[in-house]
Symmetry: C2
Subunit: 624 residues, 2 copies
C-alpha cells in the first residue's frame, strides 16, 4: 500500500479556498468530514471526498486543511491504515490518545486571528455544526457554510452520483402499505403538533415508500429526501427512476388519489429551496420535525423557532418494530442464509483440511457464491470479514491481497458475513477450527458462548433498554479477567441497512429506545487476542414476549428468539464450563437448526451439507 501523493491536490484546494468564485470571503481552513448529505454509515463513491483529498479510505475520519497544514482525525481502528495511505503532507491525529487535540482546539492553535473555517453545510450534521461553531466563535473565529463543495470543484474525475433503478416491495414483504405508513406518520405528527416532517435518512425514505435501491453498496437505498405535510407528500429524487411503470404504479403516480396521498415528485437538488419555502410560510406555533442529525443546511432552512428536533424520528422507531410480514420475511432470509453457510462450512472442511488452498478471500467469495444461489438474493449486507489466526483479532478486518492468509488446521477462522435478500437482511458470525483447538482457545470460545446465551436467553421487563443487557454478555469473560472492546448488538433492518437505530445492546450508548416485541438486534459478544486469534458468535435475534411465572405491575416480559440458525461449532466448546441450563440452550438451538435448516437443505437437495448439519448438531453431553 503506497500513500497517495496529495501535494498538487492540496495546492488546488488551497487555491479554491481563496477563490471568490467559490467562497464569499477566503476561508483559512476547510473541513472535509466523512459523511454524505444523509449522514449515512455507508457512502457512495462520489461522497468519498475525504478519501479523495487524503488517500485515507477508512470508514471514519475527518480531514482539515489550512493554508499551512493538513490533518486527519481518526480512531484506533485506523491508525495504521491512515499512516500507510497518507503522504507527508498529512498529520495523523490519533483520536482517543490523551495528547491528541480536538479539531476545535487544533484549529484555534494554528489559525491566525479572526479566521474563517469553511465546511459544506450539507455534509455536517446540525448538532456537530453547533458544537464546533461555538468553540470557534469563543476563540474569535467563524465557522462558515461554503455552498459549493470545494473538494468537488477540484475532483475532476469524480464519479457520478448513482441513480440506479428502484425495487418496489409489495404488501407480502412490507405488511403495511406506504399510504398506511403516511397515515401513521401523520398521526405521530399530530400528537406532537408538528405540521411537517422532513425525511433525511436514506433508509427512512426507502422504508416509508416501500421502495429499495442500490445507490450505496450493501445498503438497498437510493438518494432521495421526502417532506411530509399533513396534506402533501413531496419526494425529492433524481433520474428517470420515476418513469419506471412499476414504480409509478406502486406510488400510484398516475391514479386519481385523494390529494393528501398524491406524491409530488421533485428534483433531488431542490430540497433546500423547497424547505426554505416551507420555512418561510410558517405561522407561529407551526413546527417542522427533523432529526437532530440532519444536515446543517436543511436544519437552517427552518427558522429556529419552528424546528422540532428529536434524536430518533418516528420513522426510525416505527421501522425498528417489525410486523408479521417482515419477521416472516426475516425468518425466510435467515433460513436461506443458513443453507448457504452450511454449504460453505461443509465445503471448507473438505478443502481446508486436506488441501490447504483456501485463502480468506476465496472463502469470502465462496460464501457469496453460495448465498447468491438462494432465492431473492440481492447483494451482501456488508463487506465480509473472513479472517484466520491473528487477522481474526482485528475487529473490523476485511481481507485484501496484502493481508490475505490461508485457512489452516492450526488456526481459528472467524467469518462475519451477511446478505440482503428481498425478504430480509442477515448478519451472522461463526468461529471455527478445522483442526484441534487448544484448551485455551476452547476456554475463551466457551466464555463468549456463555455471554451469547446470557443475552439470548435473558428475560427482562417490557420497556427495558438494550444497554441494560450488555453486561450479561460480558459476565463470564469478566469472571476470568477477559473482555471485548465493542458493543454487543445493533439493530438490523428488514431488507434495509444491517445497522439501524434506535435500539441496540451496548455499554456505550444510553440514548437507545426501549426494546419492544418485533425489534430485531444482533447478539455478538467476542474475545480477541492480539496477534493470535479472534472469536465472535453472532446471531440475529427477534424480541418476543416471554412467558413468566409472575407479572410485576402487569408490565409483561420480553426475551429473544434467534433468527439465525447456523450450528455453533461444538468442537470449540468446553462442555464442562457450561451450566446444565446453558448446555440445554445449545442443544435446543441445534435441534432447531437441524429441524428447520435440515428440512430446507433436504428440499434444496443439498445432501452433503445436510450430513454436515446433522454431524454439527449432535447434542452436547455434560459430564457432571
Amino acid at each position: 500500500m503506497s500513500p497517495k501523493i496529495t501535494t498538487e491536490l492540496l495546492k488546488q484546494l488551497r487555491q479554491v479556498m481563496k477563490s471568490p468564485k467559490y467562497v464569499q470571503e477566503p476561508v483559512q481552513a476547510y473541513i472535509v468530514p466523512s459523511g454524505d448529505a444523509h449522514q449515512s454509515e455507508y457512502i457512495a463513491p462520489c461522497d468519498c471526498r475525504r478519501a479523495f483529498i487524503s488517500g485515507f479510505d477508512g470508514s471514519a475520519g475527518t480531514a482539515i486543511v489550512t493554508e499551512q497544514h493538513a490533518a486527519m482525525w481518526t480512531d484506533g481502528r485506523y491508525f495504521l491504515q491512515a499512516a500507510h495511505q497518507m503522504d507527508n503532507n498529512w498529520t495523523l491525529m490519533k483520536m482517543g490518545l490523551k495528547d491528541t487535540p480536538t479539531q476545535e482546539d487544533w484549529l484555534v492553535s494554528v489559525l491566525p486571528e479572526g479566521s474563517k473555517v469553511g465546511v459544506d453545510p450539507f455534509i455536517i450534521p446540525a448538532d456537530q455544526w453547533k458544537r464546533m461553531s461555538k468553540a470557534l466563535r469563543s476563540a474569535g473565529h467563524d465557522l462558515v457554510p461554503v455552498k459549493e463543495n470545494l473538494i468537488d470543484t477540484i475532483w475532476t474525475d469524480c464519479p457520478q452520483r448513482p441513480c440506479k433503478p428502484l425495487i418496489t416491495l409489495d404488501l407480502s414483504y412490507t405488511g403495511v402499505s406506504w399510504r398506511d405508513k403516511i397515515v401513521a406518520l401523520r398521526s405521530k405528527m399530530a400528537e406532537r403538533r408538528v405540521l411537517w416532517f422532513v425525511v433525511t435518512a436514506l433508509d427512512e425514505v426507502a422504508w416509508l415508500f416501500n421502495l429499495r435501491g442500490s445507490d450505496v453498496e450493501y445498503n438497498p437505498v437510493f438518494f432521495a429526501y421526502a417532506v411530509i405535510g399533513m396534506n402533501t407528500i413531496r419526494l425529492f429524487i433524481d433520474g428517470d427512476r420515476m418513469m419506471d411503470p412499476a414504480v409509478r404504479e406502486h406510488l400510484q403516480l398516475d391514479s386519481t388519489l385523494e390529494p393528501e396521498f398524491k406524491i409530488q415528485v421533485m428534483p433531488y437538488g431542490s430540497i433546500l429551496s423547497e424547505l426554505q419555502a416551507v420555512g418561510a410560510g410558517l405561522s407561529p406555533k407551526e413546527k417542522v420535525w427533523l432529526s437532530d442529525k440532519a444536515s446543517y443546511a436543511l436544519t437552517e432552512a427552518i427558522p429556529k423557532a419552528y424546528r422540532y428536533l428529536t434524536p430518533y424520528t418516528p420513522i426510525c422507531i416505527a421501522k425498528a418494530v417489525k410486523n408479521t410480514s417482515e419477521t416472516e420475511g426475516m425468518r425466510r432470509a435467515h433460513i436461506k442464509d443458513a443453507v448457504a453457510l452450511c454449504e460453505l462450512f461443509n465445503w471448507l472442511e473438505k478443502e481446508v483440511v486436506p488441501k490447504g488452498t483456501v485463502t480468506e478471500i476465496i472463502a469470502a467469495d465462496k460464501a457469496e457464491e453460495f448465498r447468491s444461489q438462494q432465492k431473492d438474493f440481492v447483494e451482501l449486507s456488508f463487506a465480509t470479514i473472513s479472517s484466520t489466526g491473528p487477522n481474526g483479532a482485528i475487529i473490523h478486518y476485511k481481507p485484501v491481497p496484502e493481508t490475505n492468509r490461508t485457512l489452516s488446521v492450526n488456526e481459528i477462522y472467524l467469518l462475519d458475513s451477511g446478505a440482503q435478500y428481498k425478504d430480509g437482511t442477515t448478519d451472522v458470525t461463526r468461529t471455527m477450527h478445522f483442526g484441534t483447538p487448544s484448551a485455551y482457545e476452547k476456554e475463551c470460545f466457551t466464555y463468549v458462548l456463555k455471554g451469547h446465551i446470557a443475552v439470548s436467553a435473558a428475560i427482562f421487563p417490557n420497556g427495558t433498554k438494550g444497554h441494560l443487557l450488555d453486561s450479561f454478555a460480558r459476565s463470564a469473560l469478566w469472571d476470568c479477567g477477559l473482555d471485548y472492546l465493542h458493543g454487543t448488538g445493533h439493530g438490523v433492518g428488514s431488507f434495509l441497512n444491517v445497522h439501524e437505530g434506535p435500539c441496540g445492546i451496548s455499554y456505550k450508548t444510553f440514548a437507545d429506545e426501549p426494546l419492544e416485541a418485533g425489534m430485531i438486534v444482533s447478539d455478538e459478544p467476542g474475545y480477541y487476542e492480539d496477534g493470535s486469534f479472534g472469536i465472535r458468535i453472532e446471531n440475529v435475534v427477534l424480541v418476543i414476549p416471554a412467558e413468566t411465572k409472575y407479572n410485576f405491575k402487569n408490565r409483561g416480559s420480553l426475551t429473544f428468539e434467534p433468527l439465525t440458525l447456523v450450528p455453533i461449532q461444538t468442537k470449540m466448546i468446553d462442555v464442562n464450563l457450561l451450566t446444565q441450563k446453558e448446555c440445554n440452550w445449545v442443544n435446543d438451538y441445534h435441534r432447531k437448526c437441524r429441524e428447520v435448516i435440515g428440512a430446507e437443505l433436504e428440499r434444496q437437495g443439498r445432501h452433503e451439507a445436510l450430513q454436515w448439519l446433522i454431524r454439527e448438531t449432535e447434542p452436547l453431553v455434560r459430564v457432571q
Copy 2:
C-alpha cells in the same frame, strides 16, 4: 394528620411579593424549592421553607405561589402525604403522571403577560435556573433573583441556623491531613488550569478540613463554604466554633505557617461578596472551578467566561476513594453495628414471638439503643425504616404513630437502618420472619438474595461504571417476571453522608464515575408487593481488586467485599433455588459473620447475642 391552615401565610407571602422593601419590582410568582444553599439531601429545620409555607414536609417537593394559585410538585412517594398535609389553598401536582404540567408550563399557563417569577438565588442550583429561565423567557416572562428569601420574611418563629460545635478528626481516622488534601486539590486545579476552587457541598467542606459537625440531622456536617486558591484558603463559617482550642489547633490557626496553608476564617454570609471580589479580579484565561450544581447566586458571582463547571468536583471524587485508615474505620464501625443488630434480632425473637408487644417504633428505638451502646456512636445515619407486613412495601416508609404496626409471627419484618460512628457510617437492611414464611415469601426472598449475591460477587474490569452492574441484581427477579423500582446501590461516606456521589449502582444514572478500589457502595436489591410485604437485603460493600485467571490488556479487575457482617435469615431462603456457587457464597459470608462478629460479641460479653449469631449462621445444605 390534619392539614396546615395556610390562608394567612399565603396572604402575607403575596404581600411581600409586591413589597418594594423586598423586591425591586413586584413578582407575580414565587418559587419555594426544597433545598438549602448547599444542595444538601438532608436539610436543617431553618431551611424547611417549603414545609413551612405549605405544611407538606416530605423530602422532595417544590412550591410555587402566584397571586391566585398555590401549587406543589412532588413525586409518587408523597402523593398521599402531601394531600393530607396541605389545605385547600394548594393544588397538588403529581409528578410522573402524564397530565401533570411541568412547573414552567404551568407558570406560562397561569401568569399574565410579561410576568416576573422570583426565586432565592441561593436555593436554586445554576443548572435548574438556566432551564427554567430559558423556558420562561421564551414565553415572555422573566425569572428574577430575589435577594432576601421571602419565606424568611414572614416566618416569624423560624428556627435559628444551627451552629453546633465541631469534631476534629485526627490522622488515625482520616489517613490524610487537611494540608495534604489541599495539596492534592491544588494539583488537580493545576492540571485543569484553574486558579480557584469553590467548595459548596457541606460534606466536601467537612471532608477537606477533616472536621465534622451536627448542624443537620443524620449528616455530620456543618454550615460552611470554602474557597481554595493556589496560595490561599478561605473558610466561611459562623459562630464561635473557631474559638474552640481543639479546632484552632487542628486547623493550625495560631501557628506560623507557610502562607499557602494559612486558613483565613470569614463569616458564612460573606461568601457571595468575597466570591464576587475574586470574580472581579480575574484576568483572561483564569478560571474558577465550581460544581454545576452550585447555587445560581454563587455561580453568577463568577463571570461566565471564567467559570469551569463539572458535575463532580475533584473533592467529590477523592472523597469517594477511601484510604486504608478510612476503610479500617469503616470495618470497625460495621463490626460494632453488627453487634448491635445481633442484640436487636435476638431481643426481637424473644419479645415478638411469645409476647407480641413490639411495634415498629419500639423496634426502631431498640435498634438505636443497642447502637448507642457502641464505642464512638454519634447518631443515626438516616431515619430508621422499621416496617412490618404491608408497611414494608412502602419503600421510603418511616413509622409514625398513625401507621405503627405491631411485629408478629405472621408478617415479614424489614429493617433498614444505620448509624454514624466516629470511625465510619453504616447502612444495612435485613428482612426477617419471626414465624413461618410462606413458600412464596421464601421464593421472592431468594430471588432478591440471588441478585444481592450477583452484584456482591461480580468481577468486572477496572474502569467499569456501577450502572453496568445494575442488571445483575435484577436478573433472577426478571426471570420470573418480578422487579423492583429503585436503584441497587449508592455511595456511602466515611463518617459522612450515607448517600454520596459520584458512584452508585443504578439503571437510572449514567453520569456515575467509574468504580475504583477503595470506593464504598451499598448493594440493596429488593422486592415489594403492594399491600403485603417488602423484602430488601442490603450490605455496604468495599470495592477491592479481584484476582483473575487472565488479565485482558492489563486492565486489572475489581470485585466487592462486604463490610456489613449481619446474618441473612436462612429461614427465608429456599435453598433449592440457589446454585451451588450462591450457596457457597452464603455459607462463606456467614462463616465470616460468625468469626468476626462472634469474636466481638464474645469480647463485649454479649453471650446471648453470640448464641443467636451461631444459630443464624449455620451452613445451608443444598439437596442436589
